[in-house]
Symmetry: C2
Subunit: 135 residues, 2 copies
């Protein structure tokens, strides 16, 4: 991923500079919807990201201020990742992606949940924020 230069001032271009690839948003998804927080949990999240690529994405996301890395006080080996406010603010993007994919592709998303997030976006966002805020 060669995007160390910002190629335009277009907000979509800039966003894609930061997370326009196969993996970055999957990490954000893990942090937002699943309760995965560690390197190992991301690596085992089922889609088969290579560990070198995962390490690269985590450091890019951290550099972008989307993710924050904290050392685990209880276990010195462990690093715990969290979404920053800026990272959490990507939730609407992910929610719209889920709604889109659920409608137009064949997914595993439970239809009831998708309908809930679609019809009561604000309520759903509030519940996400609640979970996120006790990070």
């Amino acid at each position: 991923m060669t995007r160390d230069v910002r190629r335009s001032g277009c907000p979509i271009g800039i966003a894609l500079d930061l997370f326009g690839d196969r993996w970055s948003l999957l990490v954000v998804r893990d942090l937002l919807f699943k309760d995965r927080r560690t390197f190992g949990e991301f690596a085992d999240s089922g889609e088969g990201i290579a560990t070198n690529v995962l390490a690269d994405r985590l450091s890019r996301l951290e550099l972008a201020g989307i993710v924050e890395r904290r050392a685990d006080a209880a276990d010195g080996r462990r690093a715990v990742y969290h979404l920053t406010e800026k990272g959490f603010a990507l939730a609407p993007v992910l929610v719209e992606m889920v709604i889109w994919a659920a409608r137009h592709e064949d997914t595993d998303a439970p239809p009831a949940e998708v309908r809930e997030m679609e019809r009561h976006r604000a309520r759903f966002m509030a519940s996400l924020r609640k979970r996120w805020s006790r990070r």
Copy 2:
């Protein structure tokens, strides 16, 4: 881009299989917000996509049913691309990306327009749909 296999049933994973890269959503953006419709217009859209990559992305987007390619009746050289309904349905994803980037990065997006799309999402979507429907 090697994503000819669907790696999971996760809606976000599936969405990223289809457009998780640096360029695909920029083509959708050009079709949705700018009025670019031809290969040459996409190629000259400023972010510097290589023509071989553009050709690849257009054919993938077409295969995914996001974009439709039509021969121009008036000019036999020209191909005109359009968003399908499925492609247009990505508008909320792009809108949320614009809002996110405008708030968290330094972009060229006019603040007034961003505020408009943020405070009156439904109205903004309706105006986009109107433009799109006379495609």
